[in-house]
Symmetry: C2
Subunit: 217 residues, 2 copies
């Protein structure tokens, strides 16, 4: 069986900050702070829904977080702005190296395992240049358990006839690396911010500044 690499989507293959350009069409001065609060709340809401058992799909979580960020930062949540920014989330930029790295993975099964629900994840990938290089897209929406719950990584493993330590899992999100490593995947942290990994017992197996680092692995 060919080597299996599982990639996180948001922040790992796709640059989530590229959505700030859509926010800037309405709020040029505040686009960066709105975008930052949006992303902070998006993750927080997903985690809280996971922990409290109030699952809602990531498209709904993302919309709620955007509404919160707009409300706090601008004092209003205009439906047209929300709709426009949510559309932009389906057309995120790839990171500069994403396409080339996927192209160079000869004989590898390239998989995406994402917290994104299919309604937002599938248009994103189909709209992008990498769609021909992705062999399988797995959404945790099928089982309604967000990463980093162990069920989410288990669901990824179930799609393949292999053992967990044979899978290389790649993410820029530290909580995703902690979850995947806890589950037993081999982990590769994309340290895009040139920062420290979280303190604690669980550490990534490898790290690099961008996806090109996995080509030497």
């Amino acid at each position: 069986m060919s080597k299996i690499i599982i990639y996180d989507a948001y922040g790992t293959l796709f640059d989530v900050t590229s959505v700030d350009k859509a926010i800037a069409e309405y709020y040029p001065e505040q686009a960066k702070s709105i975008g930052a609060l949006w992303r902070k709340k998006q993750i927080e809401y997903a985690f809280i829904k996971q922990m409290t058992g109030n699952y809602e799909p990531f498209s709904e979580v993302t919309r709620q977080a955007l509404r919160y960020a707009l409300s706090i930062e601008t004092g209003a949540e205009v439906k047209d702005v929300v709709d426009r920014c949510m559309q932009a989330y389906e057309k995120l930029d790839l990171f500069p190296e994403s396409l080339e790295v996927l192209k160079q993975q000869q004989g590898v099964t390239n998989v995406i395992l994402s917290n994104g629900s299919r309604d937002m994840l599938e248009p994103l990938i189909e709209n992008s240049s990498i769609s021909g290089y992705i062999d399988k897209v797995i959404s945790i929406d099928d089982i309604k358990q967000y990463k980093p719950s162990q069920a989410a990584y288990q669901y990824g493993l179930r799609q393949f006839d292999t053992s967990r330590d044979k899978i290389l899992f790649i993410s820029s999100n530290t909580w995703d690396i902690v979850g995947a490593k806890t589950f037993g995947y081999k982990t590769f942290w994309i340290n895009r911010g040139d920062t420290d990994f979280e303190k604690g017992r669980i550490q990534p197996d490898e790290e690099a500044a961008d996806l090109k680092g996995i080509l030497n692995n």
Copy 2:
């Protein structure tokens, strides 16, 4: 049976930002940013440990988060500074109204339900002026399940011979209100920052700017 009120401790009765004074002994310029990152990571680490099943006590989570914050903000993590700030976390200031509000709750069973482990929670309460007005201190460390998991609120309920809707639950933390309300407690959000509650289906039953608001409830 008397009325039961369950309070969250950190941020609700005790002002967690008061620990910034200890940080300022070493890093006067950066104390606020170190403190803010410390608290952000403290919550995030607890959530990730909850979701991945890697439980560690809140004292350990708090120490890891402090080490991360110091490392990122100052480029170093000096053990003496870590130890001094961890000690300060056992002597947090109360909010100005905490003692008076507890005093005025005649005939009420006042309970604390906290993510704090007993090694940090018990000294904090014993060192404070409210210890004589708290009837019971419950730590989720007993069951190793952090709030806002439903098991944590269930553990609180189990201590009393009553139904969940008879308990008033008070917290300044929005994720705590979402968890408690999902479980079925009556919830009162202390909105200290004069901000919006999170977007979503789960909303607090009541809110006020500080604890005095519950006296009219």
